[in-house]
């Protein structure tokens, strides 16, 4: 078992720890790779054009968080605490943003509020290019992430607490403040930090709709791609890591406390019908749902007409990607290949890794270190990881140099980039299994891999499918992780969206972004069918 831990641990070291370490070192080097101490940082903080981005990043992140979290809370409240119809449908709608690259809301907002946009007047003379556009796009992108966390927190409600409060004659408002909110507080804190981190590290939205408004993520990109100033790119990356790691640590601390809260056995809460309240909640969900859907609908509509909104003649011309600025249709097929490879290889690596961390006995130091490496990617923005890959894999002395600009490096990068969530999903599934399974097997003289194959894998099959679809969807939509390391032959769909937007082919960019969306919808549906089929075939034991 130690051997396996070693192998996967080595993967995380080579694909995560070493590149990050090297990047940190680069931020202390000059253009001829000489050590210059803090000189780069001094230059950064004495250049207003650069350090202003810190304030900008914080400002849009805080604003987006302040809008997303309450919006998502009310939506989650409606889904769990009211009797509105079509709850499943509303939940599905809210999860749509997960399936599109974060470039897409930017494109749609350009169509809606841009210089020639339909609703430009609604901005009262302000420009969509800048903080307004970034915040609107980020609220769209982060909404489902906040919603899922808060839904989970609200679902934990114990009906007995509410009955006790009613029996003590507490008013509805008092019950909300003394029972509902405290019960959901860890979820709210967690959602706050997840949204904040996502926005601070997001590259897609500010790239498309940020205009002249510089944020940290676009600065990294500009330093590296625009000015080829890798050292300064490394400096900005290190600065970008600070809020991300801070938020990550706070979130971890909060989640650890929530576990204790969960232990008691609760009676599930069934909301009672309250016509007026239910109607208000329904109206709210319809409004939010429409807002989310309209972003996607506008993108799709713009992709199939000559020139939205002035010439609405239907046309497929925008889908002729091979004639546009991006990587053509080949990039779309590349994305599918990347997503499939990441999903299959990634699920295997992540699941086996989590199994070893959870079930191996002894070797505590190695397992602890492994777990730390598995949690780290959550705190590392994609751009930072990508830049670190340039330094590490492009280094002339590195034998792994052959991987540079290949599909393999994209797969390695994407697995690491999305490692943490898969790792946590697998851990949760593994922890639900009786810890004595391995002991019983040992007493029956069975090797550990037999129990792994005959019991652990079948029992955890639903969770492994979840990891696989998560990896697939994210590999389809990611831009930030791969934007520095794709090669001429490995351009991806989401990168094409970025490049076509850069060359002004916005309709084609929207068309490609929608291709990603439809692919993810199809993958999700396939996942659902596969999960149902597998459940019937292999999960008969779950039925009583």
């Amino acid at each position: 078992m130690r051997l396996f831990i070693g192998v996967i641990g080595l993967y995380l070291v080579a694909a995560l720890a070493l590149p990050l370490g090297l990047m940190l070192a680069k931020s202390f080097e000059g253009p001829r790779e000489e050590f210059v101490g803090l000189a780069n940082y001094v230059r950064y903080f004495s250049t207003p054009a650069l350090f202003q981005s810190i304030g900008n990043s914080l400002w849009v992140s805080i604003l987006s968080t302040l809008i997303t979290v309450p919006t998502a809370f009310v939506y989650a409240y409606a889904l769990t605490r009211s009797r509105i119809p079509f709850r499943g449908f509303f939940k599905t709608v809210a999860l749509v943003p997960i399936l599109v690259p974060s470039l897409l809301p930017g494109l749609a907002l350009v169509y809606l509020f841009g210089n020639q946009g339909l609703l430009k007047a609604a901005l009262l003379g302000h420009s969509i290019y800048g903080p307004i556009g970034i915040v609107m796009a980020e609220v769209f992108t982060t909404f489902p992430h906040a919603l899922l966390i808060i839904l989970a927190a609200l679902a934990l409600a114990d009906a007995r607490l509410y009955e006790a409060a009613v029996a003590l004659r507490a008013s509805r408002a008092r019950i909300f403040w003394t029972v509902t909110l405290p019960g959901a507080r860890y979820g709210l804190i967690s959602a706050t930090f997840v949204v904040f981190t996502t926005v601070v590290t997001d590259f897609g939205a500010p790239k498309v709709i940020g205009g002249q408004y510089n944020v940290l993520a676009t600065d990294v990109y500009k330093q590296v791609i625009g000015q080829q100033n890798f050292q300064m790119g490394a400096v900005v990356s290190v600065i970008l890591l600070v809020p991300a790691i801070f938020a990550f640590l706070v979130d971890r601390a909060v989640r650890r406390r929530q576990v204790a809260l969960l232990s008691a056995r609760a009676v599930p809460l069934e909301p009672k019908p309250q016509p007026l309240f239910d109607l208000a909640m329904l109206a709210y969900c319809v409004v939010v749902g429409l807002a989310l859907l309209s972003i996607v609908a506008v993108s799709q509509f713009a992709a199939v007409v000559k020139f939205f909104p002035y010439n609405l003649t239907l046309t497929w011309a925008h889908y002729d990607f091979d004639q546009k600025g991006g990587g053509g249709w080949a990039s779309y097929y590349n994305s599918i290949r990347l997503a499939l490879l990441t999903s299959v290889v990634g699920t295997f690596v992540v699941f086996v890794g989590a199994y070893l961390v959870e079930k191996a006995r002894g070797f505590a130091l190695g397992r602890g270190l492994f777990h730390f490496l598995a949690m780290l990617p959550m705190a590392v923005p994609g751009l930072v990881l990508g830049l670190a890959y340039i330094f590490f894999f492009n280094a002339p002395g590195n034998p792994l140099n052959v991987l540079y600009r290949t599909m393999t490096i994209l797969v390695i990068n994407t697995i690491v980039h999305f490692y943490t969530v898969g790792h946590l999903t697998a851990l949760t599934a593994l922890r639900q299994m009786d810890p004595e399974f391995e002991t019983v097997s040992a007493s029956l003289k069975q090797p550990f891999y037999r129990t792994f194959w005959r019991v652990t894998v079948p029992v955890c099959l639903p969770s492994t499918l979840d990891i696989a679809i998560y990896m697939f969807v994210n590999a389809m939509t990611t831009v930030s992780g791969v934007v520095f390391i794709y090669g001429p032959k490995t351009e991806l769909a989401a990168i094409s969206v970025l490049n076509m937007d850069d060359t002004g082919e916005i309709a084609s960019a929207a068309a490609m972004a929608m291709m990603i969306f439809y692919t993810n919808v199809a993958a999700r549906m396939l996942h659902l069918l596969l999960a149902r089929w597998l459940e019937r075939r292999t999960q008969a034991w779950r039925r009583r």
Binding site: E436, T439, V440, A442, S443, L444, K445, T538, A540, R544
Partner: protein, 360 residues
């Protein structure tokens, strides 16, 4: 005959905490031994050390003449049943039982034969194709037992195997496990915190407290002659009263002197006198015999087959005793709260422990 299992000077530390403190114990082949004690006393740690799950910090374990102290669980010879049963949820009852039998050397037909034999023994023949979730708690427990016994291990370890079951099933299974163990003559160690379980099932009981063994003995020995106030208090109900040694064979208790066995404690020594409620005898009529106390009934609790009476002396001596009184006696004598009773404490039923800490 050498013991089947010999544990010598076993110590287990978790950081600064000593979970097992210098434990030595011998278990004979075919014996049914219970480790009994409150939670945290080290009984489970000892079981896990025997299984090789938590290797001891120091000390030695020999099984059947072989030193197994450093062997991993796979190299040891035991079957184990956990409180949670740890049945593989995705395998049927039959496949769970077959799990340890399936290997390259055993023919399939042989495995199938053994599995159906075990299911038969456990009265589970009709349930072989069911998954654990479709079985009752008692049935799951029996599947776990069958799985542990399938490979015919030399040692059977039971870690609180009955505590997840409801009371009726528990009593029934207690009997079944004991019968099975007698029939198979398999050396068995069961960990439990339930004294009734230990008293009814074990050949010998090992009472543990704070990582050390308090007493080893048959159920009757443990109950009748508890070696320490801890054992006396943990097993059954015990009255404790503070007293002082006044002579060769007498203890003063309030105003009364009681005859009892003293084991050479010097006069003036502070002692604790212990007697079980069922050993207190109520005199019919007026009593003039020695070892008699006249006490007032302070409370009466009806327990179905008997009454438990709280008896108190006058305020100055502070005597408090619980006594079990026959229902018939209460009715016949019309005893109620505030009645005065003369009770006899038979000298051979009184146990004396040095020190005056009164346990309640």
């Amino acid at each position: 005959m050498p013991p089947y299992l010999r544990i010598s000077r076993l110590t287990k530390k978790f950081g600064g905490f000593t979970a097992l403190d210098d434990i030595s114990l011998e278990i004979a082949e075919g014996e049914f031994v219970c480790f009994l004690g409150p939670s945290g006393c080290g009984k489970t740690t000892l079981l896990r050390a025997i299984a090789g799950l938590d290797i001891q910090t120091a000390g030695r374990i020999e099984q059947n003449g072989r030193d197994i102290s450093a062997l991993p669980p796979t190299k040891r010879d035991f079957g184990i049943v956990f409180q949670s049963y740890a049945l593989f949820p995705n395998l049927t009852a039959a496949k769970n039982v077959a799990y340890g039998l399936q290997n390259a050397r055993t023919p399939r037909a042989e495995v199938a034969r053994r599995v159906s034999e075990l299911l038969e023994v456990m009265g589970l023949s009709a349930h072989g194709a069911k998954y654990p979730a479709q079985l009752s708690g008692g049935q799951q427990q029996r599947v776990a037992l069958a799985r542990a016994l399938a490979t015919s291990p030399g040692l059977l370890l039971l870690d609180e195997p009955l505590s997840a079951l409801d009371a009726k099933v528990r009593v029934h299974l207690r009997h079944e496990i004991k019968q099975l163990q007698r029939r198979l003559r398999v050396t068995t160690i069961m960990v439990t915190h339930d004294q009734e379980e230990a008293l009814t099932m074990a050949d010998r009981i090992v009472v543990m407290n704070l990582g050390a063994i308090e007493q080893v003995g048959t159920p009757l020995e443990i109950y009748r002659e508890p070696a320490s106030p801890f054992v006396a208090d943990f097993i059954g109900v015990m009255n404790f009263v503070a007293g002082t040694v006044v002579g060769d064979r007498a203890v003063r208790l309030g105003h009364t002197e009681l005859a009892c066995e003293l084991d050479g404690l010097a006069a003036g020594t502070e002692v604790t006198l212990a007697i079980r409620p069922e050993d207190i005898v109520v005199h019919e009529g007026r009593a003039t015999e020695p070892n008699t106390l006249t006490l007032r009934v302070d409370a009466l609790a009806f327990l179905g087959s008997l009454f438990r009476a709280d008896l108190v002396g006058d305020a100055s001596d502070g005597v408090f005793l619980r006594a079990d009184l026959p229902v018939d006696l209460i009715r016949r004598r019309g005893i109620g709260e505030k009645s005065m009773l003369s009770v006899l404490l038979p000298p051979d039923r009184i146990r004396i422990y040095p020190g005056s800490t009164v346990h309640r």
